[in-house]
C-alpha cells in the first residue's frame, strides 16, 4: 500500500481530456465562410441589381456606412437593442428559474410529471403569434407582457433538458445514496442537481437564443413603453431603410450569440472542472 505503487498506474496528467485545444482552424474556418458570404453578397448587390432596385439588397459596405458608421442611426438601433435585451434577460432569468423548478418538482413525483408535462409540450406547439394579442389584452402592452412572451418561448427547453438531466442519474450512484441513507433533499442537492448541471446548461444555451427572439416578437406587437428592436425593424421596413434594417438584424443576433457564448463558456468550465483541468 505505498503511494509509489499508486503513482505508478496514474495516467499522465491531462490524458483523460479528449477535448482538443482550439486550433487556428477553429477560428479561421468560420471566418472564411463569413468572407465568402460577404463577397457573394457584394457581387449579387452590385452586379445583379439595378441601382434603383439596390435598396432590396444593399451591399455590405453600404450597410456598414449607413447603419453603423452614421452615429445617429447606430445610437437609435443600440437604444432599441438595449431595451429588447433587458426584456430578453429578465425573461430568460425567469424561464431558467421556473424551468428548473418545474423540472425538479416533476422529477420528485411521477404524478406531477404525468400531469404537467403534456402542457409543457403544448408550450412548444402553440402558435406564439396567436397568443401574443391575448397576452396584450390580459397584461397590457408593456414590459410585463413582453417578458411573459419571452418566458413562454424559452421555457420548454429549460424544462426538458433539466428533467432529462435529473432523471438520467447513474443507477449505481442512486444505490450509493441509498446505502448511506440519503434523504430526498440530500439526493436532489448532492446528486441529481450536480449530475444534471451539464444538461441544464445545454437548456440555457438553447433558451438564450429563443429569449431574444421572443423579446423581438413581443416588441413587434406591444407598442407601449420603451420601443425595442422589433418596433424599430417595423419602422425601417416602412421607410425601406434596408441598411438600418440589416444592421438591426445583425446586432440583435449578436445579442443572442453573446448570451449563447456565456453559457457555452460556463459549460466548458464545468466540464473542465470535472476533468480536473480547471484550477478551482
Amino acid at each position: 500500500m505505498s503511494a509509489g505503487a499508486a503513482a505508478a498506474n496514474a495516467p499522465a496528467a491531462g490524458t483523460a481530456a479528449p477535448r482538443k485545444p482550439r486550433s487556428v482552424g477553429r477560428i479561421l474556418a468560420p471566418f472564411l465562410v463569413l468572407v465568402g458570404v460577404l463577397v457573394l453578397w457584394t457581387l449579387a448587390s452590385r452586379l445583379l441589381l439595378d441601382p434603383d432596385r439596390r435598396f432590396l439588397l444593399p451591399p455590405p459596405d453600404e450597410v456598414l456606412r449607413k447603419g453603423v458608421l452614421e452615429g445617429a442611426n447606430l445610437a437609435e438601433v443600440l437604444d432599441a437593442l438595449w431595451s429588447t435585451t433587458r426584456v430578453a434577460l429578465v425573461g430568460l432569468a425567469i424561464a431558467m428559474v421556473l424551468g428548473v423548478a418545474l423540472a425538479i418538482v416533476m422529477s420528485q413525483a411521477r404524478w406531477v410529471e404525468y400531469s404537467v408535462y403534456p402542457y409543457a409540450i403544448v408550450l412548444q406547439t402553440i402558435p406564439i403569434l396567436a397568443v401574443v394579442p391575448l397576452l396584450g389584452f390580459w397584461f397590457g402592452f408593456d414590459f410585463q407582457s413582453r417578458v411573459i412572451v419571452c418566458v413562454l418561448v424559452s421555457l420548454f427547453p429549460m424544462i426538458t433538458n433539466t428533467l432529462y438531466g435529473l432523471k438520467s442519474v447513474d443507477v449505481g450512484h442512486h444505490d450509493l445514496f441509498t446505502l448511506f441513507g440519503a434523504n430526498r433533499l440530500q439526493r436532489l442537492v448532492r446528486l441529481q442537481l450536480p449530475a444534471a448541471l451539464p444538461a441544464m446548461i445545454t437548456g440555457f444555451k438553447i433558451s438564450s437564443g429563443l429569449a431574444v427572439i421572443g423579446a423581438i416578437v413581443a416588441d413587434f406587437f406591444f407598442r407601449q413603453g420603451d420601443p425595442g428592436i422589433g418596433r424599430l425593424i417595423d419602422v425601417y421596413r416602412q421607410r425601406l431603410a434596408t441598411e438600418q434594417l440589416m444592421t438591426a438584424l445583425v446586432l440583435s443576433s449578436l445579442v443572442g450569440l453573446a448570451l449563447f457564448f456565456v453559457f457555452d463558456l460556463w459549460g466548458t468550465y464545468v466540464d473542465d472542472r470535472r476533468l480536473g483541468k480547471a484550477t478551482r
Binding site: A6, N9, A10, L176, T178, G181, A182
Partner: protein
C-alpha cells in the same frame, strides 16, 4: 507490508500452510459427482480445526427472491458470514450472486426468508467505482459521513486516513477523471472504509481491471482485512481471486441460485503473493473450478 499480521479473529490464524496432513485430507475429498449436483448438502462443514466463528455479522436464512417477471433468482438460500471470515461467491452469470449482495445492502427485499446485517456499519464496493465526477477524491471519500451527518472535522479526518490506507495520499484534490481505473477502485474502497464496516460487500469490484492491478488490489484488500477484520462477502468470476482472498469459497448454481459447494480455504493470513504459485493453491483452485464446471455444464 510489514504491519500485516495474522489477526486473532481470522479463523485460520495460527494454522500453518505446511500443515500437509490436514490440507491433503481436504484436497482428497472427491470432486462433485456430475449427477448429484441437486442433492449436495448446502454446506461442507468447516474444518474441525478452525476457530468457532463469532456470531454472524451477516446472515441469510432461507432467502428466496422472485422477480416481478416470475424469475426465481434465489431459492431457500442460507449463508452466514462472521467477522473475520472472507467468503467469495462464484457461480454462472445470472445466478443471483449480486442479488444476494443487494439484499444485504437493502437495495432489494427478499420475497421469502430473512436477511440480518448491520446496516450502519456496512461497506459496499460496486462493480464500477461509482465516484461522483464533480467531486475531488477527498470529497468523494467524505460523502458517506456527509450523508450520515457526521461532524465535518471527524469525517475529514476519517477520509484522509482512509485515503492514506489505500495508498492515495497526495491525490486528495484530484478528480476521478484524472485517475486510472485501479486508482478509482482504491478511492471507492477508501470511501467504504470511512464507515468502519463490520460487513463488507464487494460486487465483482476488480472485474474491469488488468491482471496486475487486480492482483495488487487483492493483496491490498487482504492487508486491510488482516489489520481490521470484517465479515467479507465478495462476488467474483475469477477462481484464483476467490481462492487467494477467501476463508471460504461458495459455489452457486445457475438460476434459481442455491449453494452447491462451500469450500474452505485453509491458508493462514497474511498471504504472500507467491501463494498463488504454490501446489496447494493450484489444487484448491482446481477444486473450485471443478465445482464451477459442474454447475455450468
Amino acid at each position: 507490508m510489514s504491519r500485516l499480521a495474522a489477526h486473532p479473529f481470522s479463523p485460520s490464524a495460527g494454522r500453518r500452510l505446511d500443515d500437509d496432513a490436514e490440507l491433503a485430507g481436504r484436497l482428497m475429498s472427491p470432486a462433485l459427482p456430475p449427477d448429484s449436483a441437486g442433492q449436495l448438502p448446502t454446506s461442507e462443514s468447516a474444518l474441525p480445526a478452525s476457530a468457532p466463528p463469532a456470531s454472524p455479522a451477516l446472515d441469510f436464512s432461507r432467502v428466496s427472491v422472485r422477480f416481478k417477471d416470475g424469475t426465481q433468482a434465489l431459492e431457500q438460500l442460507s449463508l452466514s458470514v462472521a467477522v473475520g471470515e472472507f467468503v467469495s461467491l462464484v457461480g454462472p452469470s445470472g445466478c443471483g450472486k449480486s442479488t444476494l449482495l443487494r439484499l444485504a445492502a437493502g437495495f432489494q427485499t427478499a420475497s421469502g426468508g430473512a436477511v440480518s446485517t448491520q446496516q450502519d456499519a456496512l461497506g459496499y464496493v460496486f462493480q464500477d467505482a461509482t465516484l461522483l465526477p464533480w467531486r475531488s477524491v477527498l470529497h468523494n471519500v467524505e460523502l458517506p459521513g456527509e450523508l450520515r451527518g457526521m461532524a465535518p472535522g471527524e469525517r475529514r479526518r476519517r477520509a484522509r486516513e482512509a485515503i492514506r490506507r489505500v495508498g492515495l495520499a497526495g491525490f486528495e484534490r484530484h478528480r476521478p477523471a484524472q485517475l486510472s481505473g485501479g486508482m478509482r477502485m482504491r478511492v471507492s474502497i477508501a470511501r467504504a472504509l470511512t464507515m468502519q464496516p463490520k460487513v463488507f460487500l464487494f460486487d465483482e469490484p476488480f472485474g474491469a481491471l488488468d491482471e496486475i492491478t487486480r492482483e495488487r488490489l487483492n493483496e491490498e484488500l487482504l492487508a486491510i482485512f488482516v489489520a481490521e477484520p470484517y465479515a467479507g462477502l465478495f462476488v467474483t468470476h475469477s477462481v484464483p481471486e476467490s481462492v487467494f482472498l477467501s476463508t471460504r469459497v461458495v459455489v452457486m448454481s445457475a438460476r434459481p441460485g442455491r449453494i452447491l459447494a462451500d469450500i474452505a480455504i485453509p491458508f493462514p493470513y497474511p498471504r504472500p503473493p507467491e501463494l498463488r504459485y504454490s501446489t496447494d493453491f493450484a489444487k484448491l483452485a482446481g477444486r473450485v473450478s471443478a465445482a464451477l464446471r459442474e454447475v455450468t455444464s
